[in-house]
Point group: C2
């Protein structure tokens, strides 16, 4: 038995170790709700989430709530000096704000949103457990100079770098501006959440011919991405502000750059099952800071009902 096989016996989601990439099947459920139980989603919605790895829901928040969130987003942009500087991410080679992390700890409105029954209810139902916020952020993706996010599974990073044990987390992305085909919308590969791409962990040797391009550490390889694409295609939800996209922690996703004049802003909340709290990172490096991955300060969420404002 090779050293790698032994490691995989202990951890089915080993990654960044071998010199060639590999696609394997997911070993965890996607939907943890007990069969027969009812929740905030229709059976069709649950089946779609299970099959695709994501779900779009329009109209959960009304115009006044969306306006309040957009106003808060703009206020936070101006109030950068009052925020934890570590949580502010600028566009590469620019001064424009790309993201603010840990917004559920830095904004009253977004703290309230994080507890909102409309989101927490869905997360608790699909994950079949109490939940807490693993990560939160505002993405500004400004017009003209918004950079691409290359394809990735969030779980691969959260497992290797943060120590999230299993696939029992989901993300809620609520759009605060219009998403069009021109402003670099979120693209997802339906069904990719049922597979797991082990990324390469070292520079491939000379005989590795799958790509002319040097493989990067922790990035899925083109052949695996092409295989996932051929099975599932690409979907890029577009539409007016206020669209909620709920997606599994392991669905492959990314976005192209945005040279259009339209910003593409959203609020992003990751819910993790309390049974799936972080342990030591599986990549054997020190864990990333708390603002990227809640480790010590987790709080089991009690859903709050009613409108945000």
């Amino acid at each position: 038995m090779s050293a790698l096989t032994k490691r995989i016996e202990r951890d089915p989601y080993v990654s960044r170790v071998a010199s060639v990439p590999e696609i394997v099947d997911r070993v965890d459920p996607v939907v943890y709700a007990r069969p027969g139980t009812t929740g905030p989603l229709t059976p069709e919605q649950v089946a779609q989430y299970d099959r695709q790895g994501f779900l779009e829901i329009d109209g959960l928040f009304d115009a006044e709530e969306l306006a309040a969130m957009l106003t808060e987003l703009e206020r936070l942009q101006r109030a950068q000096a009052e925020l934890d500087p570590e949580t502010l991410i600028l566009e590469p080679q620019g001064q424009e704000l790309r993201s603010i992390f840990a917004i559920h700890t830095q904004s009253r409105l977004f703290a309230r949103l994080a507890r909102d029954e409309r989101l927490v209810g869905i997360a608790r139902y699909l994950l079949g457990d109490d939940v807490y916020v693993h990560q939160s952020r505002l993405n500004y993706k400004p017009g003209f100079f918004g950079k691409e996010f290359y394809w990735h599974s969030d779980f691969e990073t959260w497992h290797i770098e943060d120590g999230m044990p299993r696939m029992r987390a989901l993300s809620c992305s609520l759009t605060l501006t219009r998403n069009t085909e021109y402003n670099g919308p979120l693209m997802l590969i339906p069904g990719s959440h049922r597979r797991y791409v082990r990324c390469v962990g070292e520079t491939p040797d000379e005989h590795y011919k799958q790509s002319l391009r040097k493989q990067e550490y922790g990035v899925p390889d083109p052949d695996s991405l092409r295989a996932l694409y051929e099975e599932g295609g690409i979907v890029a939800p577009t539409g007016e502000a206020g669209k909620l996209i709920i997606f599994d922690c392991n669905v492959m996703h990314g976005s192209n750059s945005n040279i259009s004049p339209l910003p593409r802003s959203n609020v992003f909340l990751v819910y993790n099952s309390v049974s799936n709290r972080l342990v030591a990172p599986f990549g054997n490096k020190p864990p990333r800071p708390e603002f990227l991955a809640t480790r010590r300060s987790y709080e089991v969420l009690e859903p709050v009902s009613g409108r945000l404002v």
Copy 2:
């Protein structure tokens, strides 16, 4: 009268001189065909080109011709060693081929395409003159790592860097692969060809607050782009291989990056009126090389009828 006003009297398309950008009206016609004359386009197509600055035409080339061009594109990719190395452009930070220039001088098939009556006939009609190839290239835009092209007017560059006197040229882009909303398709701003954005020529002074981002030399500024977008919106022609997009030399266009697995390849031919041949560059720098801008080796095109293969 300021020095700039004097320069503008001599050259209405002065650019890269002032410290603030400016949008002005185009002073040249878009369609040079004499009224009442008929040509290869319908009156509706001519009116659309005049109004939008571009036109899409499907089905001009049949499946066998498209297959031959795709095969030739792939052959040239493998035959790089036989091509003029100056004409090969690689992706930034990669080894993948982005473009081959001067393909009408390096490939028998694309030399034939450049003379094809279906293209030359349209160019001669719209430009109201004999034409020659100002520039030609194959764009490979590979999947996964295709980089964006920021917004630009070709004419601004051709005028300032190559010495093209007036707006009396057009581009033909023939798609050789499928264009989708996911693989960084060409985006155009309808109507932008009727305006001209003078780019800034020096780093703006401290009081210039229109953008936080440092202006780059020869790049249109965000406020002008936003104004053009608000007038015209964005159109990104998508569809199967074989779509011809004819666009005016001054229409504002660009494309986002392409992280999708789908390459986006096309053949690109620029026709210029023989009455509009290059003079000394208006930017007062030495002209760019011949493979980017035909200066000495121009040849008035005699259209060739019949199928390509």
